[in-house]
């Protein structure tokens, strides 16, 4: 084992370093100007510059093969390039949502930006990792800023409670991750993912299965698969809406992207035992999420449960990736994640538009008669909800088609049938807001006040367009995804 840092190591991680340095900029400026908060636009531009520069640096790096760095602990490939770009994009959207959002305290905006960029850095580390310890560092670097971001809000108690809940349960999940890594190390004498794969022939299969399962449990916590979902509704509801959007899209994305790269290791488990468990996790997640969402009246809480069920759908795709040979399930999951990212981002952006003050909870009742006052925004919201429900001609439909067809390819018919049945249930609650917007008249004559924030509205409209484009012209995106697989 030789240690040493080479030039190609540095060049591979330049985007990460640039992001790290630039993420410090807003807080540094604040400290040096006597702890006075700068103009939000100024801070925002700094952060946007950091994110965009990182993105550009990643785009500019050409790869046609898998490259390792830092003694095989860091890996870069076309697949990682594509997914990282999606992550950067979705963080940029979150930045737009947070700009002048009433739920984020004005005097702490630069801290908010700093934490968001740190979380992005954590995600990049996680995505680049080829060593379970680096993975763990990535997850912690993502989670710790997230705990603070959830609680970072004026005087309201609810976000603090959410933050604490998230912290306690998240630490629990981290413990599971470490536990799993320790077992894997015990079985294979290494934490490096590629070495685990090659060492797997002569190891104790049981030990390895326990290790991988424990590691997966930690991951399941992060994406809230049943029965590790209990933290999610409270945390989603309690957080400032831009942060909910961030957790529901970007964080979920990165974990699934990582797991998709991790399937080779998952395959090492004793499948006779593990497959059964994984299938039940998927089925329960799809059903519990959708069933509980039926009864919710708070929009945010409903979407929280819907997000649980979407984790379940994605997990069906992941199971087929574990069982199958690749291509199809890669396409399925990545396309699903992309569509889901735009849909949820747009939906939460819409909720930001209607949040007048911090901690306000959008109820179904408050949507009454929305279609009359703001027809375009109501239409946008309907499109997002239809996409979540998987109704054509939105992107959500094809996302579901590709995802479930990957499961059909590996002959997991029952998983698909359960999934379809649960999404039939889901249609009911996805249509409920549509009912309130279009079919009920509001009691009072007061007109809806919306946040005339250009940054938020632009995210709404961009997302609508993307959801429709993904629904009609999915071919170029799929080709792009396929090209990254080598």
């Amino acid at each position: 084992m030789e240690l040493g840092i080479y030039l190609q190591d540095i060049s591979l991680t330049i985007p990460l370093m640039v992001l790290f340095v630039l993420s410090l900029l807003p807080v540094t400026v604040k400290i040096f100007s006597g702890n006075v908060e700068q103009k939000p636009l100024f801070t925002f531009l700094q952060a946007a510059f950091a994110v965009i520069l990182t993105g550009v640096l990643i785009v500019l790096r050409n790869t046609t093969e898998v490259v390792y760095a830092f003694n095989n602990t860091i890996v870069f490939s076309p697949y990682i390039k594509l997914t990282t770009i999606i992550l950067v994009l979705s963080t940029l959207f979150t930045l737009f949502l947070g700009y002048r959002s009433p739920s984020i305290p004005k005097n702490q905006y630069s801290e908010h930006v700093f934490l968001l960029l740190s979380a992005l850095l954590g995600m990049l580390v996680l995505n680049y990792s080829n060593d379970l310890l680096i993975t763990f560092i990535g997850i912690e670097l993502l989670s710790l800023p997230l705990y603070v971001l959830v609680g970072l809000s004026g005087n309201s108690v609810v976000p603090k409670e959410a933050s604490f809940k998230y912290f306690v349960l998240g630490s629990f999940a981290s413990a599971f991750l470490l536990f799993g890594i320790a077992f894997i190390f015990g079985a294979t004498q290494t934490t490096e993912i590629t070495k685990i794969l090659s060492a797997s022939d002569q190891v104790d299969k049981n030990l390895l299965t326990i290790g991988i399962m424990a590691f997966l449990v930690g991951m399941f916590f992060k994406v809230a698969l049943v029965p590790f979902h209990s933290w999610l509704p409270d945390v989603y509801q309690g957080s400032p809406t831009p942060m909910t959007a961030f957790m529901a899209t970007t964080v979920k994305l990165v974990i699934f992207v990582f797991l998709l790269g991790f399937v080779d290791v998952i395959r090492l488990m004793d499948m006779n035992v593990a497959l059964y468990t994984l299938q039940w996790v998927a089925i329960l997640t799809m059903f519990l999420g959708n069933m509980v969402a039926l009864k919710q009246s708070s929009l945010k809480r409903m979407l929280a449960y819907s997000s649980i069920s979407h984790s379940g759908y994605l997990f069906v795709g992941l199971i087929s990736a574990v069982l199958g040979t690749g291509e199809f399930s890669y396409q399925g999951i990545l396309f699903y994640l992309l569509t889901y990212m735009f849909t949820i981002m747009g939906l939460f952006a819409l909720m930001c538009v209607y949040e007048k003050k911090e901690g306000e909870d959008l109820n179904l009742d408050t949507l009454k008669g929305l279609a009359k006052d703001h027809p375009w925004l109501a239409l946008a919201m309907s499109i997002f909800l239809l996409s979540l429900a998987g109704i054509p001609p939105t992107g959500g439909f094809f996302a579901k088609v590709f995802l479930f067809s990957s499961a059909i390819q590996v002959e997991q018919y029952w998983l698909v049938i359960w999934g379809m049945m649960s999404s039939a249930i889901a249609v009911y609650y996805y249509l409920k807001p549509v009912v309130y917007m279009y079919m009920k008249d509001k009691e009072s004559s007061e007109i809806f006040v919306k946040n005339e924030s250009v940054s938020t509205l632009s995210i709404v409209y961009l997302s609508v367009i993307m959801v429709l484009v993904l629904g009609v012209f999915s071919q170029p995106f799929l080709t792009r995804i396929l090209k990254t697989l080598i």
């Binding site: 239809l386 249609v427 249509l431 071919q475």
Partner: protein
């Protein structure tokens, strides 16, 4: 380009509607709908009725790795359904001139979207495209029921949507499985129906867990809900009663046909063995639907609900004819699909006319209407005759063929279905008697005393214009059925012939044993 134009022209119209000033919306959309209808009439010129092959085909690559294409085409089966779709648009627009009072723009927007989706359903040859249009057509109808409907509109709209959606999701699974099967058997994945027809789908008689039976069930349930067949018909009465008149008309005249069209396009040609094996059961459900629908219709206090249940009964005939799997039954079924569209569409329009005047649909509050509204009474009687299949009207031709086909296939079921005709006559005539002739009800009395004078005017010129084409069609289709059937004949022959090809090997096997 012709069919693409036919499908997507209404979307352009829908966009135009949004731009029109409020006062011009109705006139504008009426004109556009007429233009679209005239455009569709060009089909008579372009369509070749001597062949069963798909015509005016357009095919472009869409999502290549999955074999999904933009693939449209028309044959004798979809020919009349397409024309009926474009034909009803101007009629419902003119028919709902005064009944849609709020959000007119949105209403016409939804109507044109619905047109596109319905035409897309009938013209798609690619199964994924078919599914997309099939599913998307739920949305505008959902809005129509939910926004402009009656008092329980939200419940009805939700029920309508979830019933149909839940059924079709399993169909989607079956379509995906079929695509993988094409990849296996034909070398490349393809979502086109033409390639599906070439598949050999394994079938084991008497067992449920084999690919063909499962897929048959998935498709069958999806379309049975749409038709709707007993026992999954319960969404229909709710949807019809709560929907506004134009919604009811389109729902009855065209959207229900998507289900029976699906039977003809997918279920029968794709799963021939399963269709043969389970055909008797489907016929049985059809006959149960005929009798059940008629019996329930008999006790309805609400005219619209009565017509809705009569739909269940009439669609039972269509299913019976289809699954008789002979040329009589199939021809009759296709004809009955058109008949049901015309006569039930007309009935809903007529009910709408009187509802606009009195705002009630209770049968018992009418009575003696014949004296107050003579022309309306005559029109209603003609449509009733058509609905109960009096010779000379269109209903007779269709039901006659269906009963003949049904009887040839299964004597017991054919006979029960024939008895169902009597039940059908009974409930319709009872209703007509109570509404138009019986003792004078509160409205007619009120009209005499001067309280309801304004309300009980006879049909206006606009309403006559709306109903006239339908009345003409009733007689035309009743007296010259060949004018219509000749366009579909070759396709129907082909459908039945392929069916018979499959029947032969099974019969031979039975003989050998």
């Amino acid at each position: 380009m012709f069919l693409t134009g036919l499908i997507f022209l209404p979307i352009v119209f829908a966009a135009v509607v949004l731009l029109l000033p409020q006062s011009k919306v109705r006139v504008g959309s009426l004109l556009m709908a007429i233009v679209h209808f005239v455009y569709s009439l060009c089909l008579f010129q372009m369509f070749d009725k001597t062949t069963a092959a798909l015509q005016l085909v357009e095919k472009h690559e869409w999502i290549s790795f999955f074999g999904i294409n933009y693939f449209v085409g028309i044959d004798g089966i979809s020919f009349w359904l397409v024309l009926m779709t474009t034909f009803f648009a101007p009629i419902v627009i003119l028919g709902s001139w005064h009944s849609i009072e709020k959000k007119e723009k949105t209403f016409h927007f939804a109507l044109f979207l619905l047109q596109t989706f319905m035409l897309g359903t009938f013209l798609s040859i690619d199964s994924i495209m078919f599914y997309i249009f099939f599913e998307a057509s739920l949305l505008p109808m959902y809005l129509m029921i939910g926004v402009w409907g009656g008092t329980r509109r939200i419940y009805a709209a939700m029920k309508f949507f979830i019933y149909t959606m839940a059924g079709s999701l399993l169909m989607l699974v079956a379509i995906l499985a079929l695509i993988f099967m094409t990849a296996e058997q034909l070398g490349a994945p393809s979502a086109s129906m033409i390639d599906f027809y070439k598949l050999q789908i394994p079938f084991v008689a008497g067992e449920v867990l084999n690919p063909q039976t499962l897929m048959f069930l998935a498709f069958f349930i999806a379309f049975a809900i749409k038709v709707p067949m007993f026992p999954v018909h319960t969404w229909l009465p709710d949807a019809h009663v709560e929907a506004p008149t134009p919604g009811s008309v389109i729902l009855a005249a065209i959207m229900l046909k998507m289900g029976t069209y699906g039977f003809m396009r997918f279920v029968i040609p794709l799963f021939p063995e399963a269709t043969n094996y389970y055909g008797w059961f489907v016929m049985l459900l059809g006959v149960v639907g005929i009798v059940y629908g008629a019996l329930v219709a008999m006790v309805q206090p609400d005219i619209k609900k009565l017509v809705a249940y009569s739909s269940v009964s009439h669609m039972g005939y269509v299913v019976l004819g289809l699954f008789a799997l002979n040329i009589y039954g199939t021809t009759g079924a296709l004809y009955q699909m058109l008949n049901h569209g015309v006569s039930t569409g007309a009935l809903f329009l007529l009910v709408g006319i009187i509802y606009e005047r009195t705002h009630t649909r209770e049968i018992k509050s009418y009575g003696g209407l014949a004296a107050a509204m003579p022309i309306y009474t005559i029109l209603f009687l003609i449509v009733t005759m058509s609905s109960i299949a009096v010779p000379g009207t269109n209903g007779f031709v269709g039901e006659f063929y269906i009963l003949m086909g049904g009887f040839l296939k299964n004597k017991a079921l054919g006979s029960i279905a024939a008895l169902g005709v009597i039940l059908g006559a009974a409930y319709m005539l009872w209703m007509v008697k109570k509404v138009f002739f019986g003792p004078e009800g509160e409205y007619v009395k009120g009209a005499k005393e001067g309280t309801y004078n304004e309300a009980l005017k006879d049909v206006s010129l606009r309403e006559t214009i709306v109903l006239a084409p339908l009345i003409i069609l009733i007689f035309w289709m009743g007296i010259f059925p060949n004018h219509f059937l000749s366009w579909s004949q070759s396709s129907l022959d082909h459908l039945v012939k392929t069916q018979l090809d499959y029947e032969l090997p099974i019969a031979q096997k039975a003989e050998q044993e």
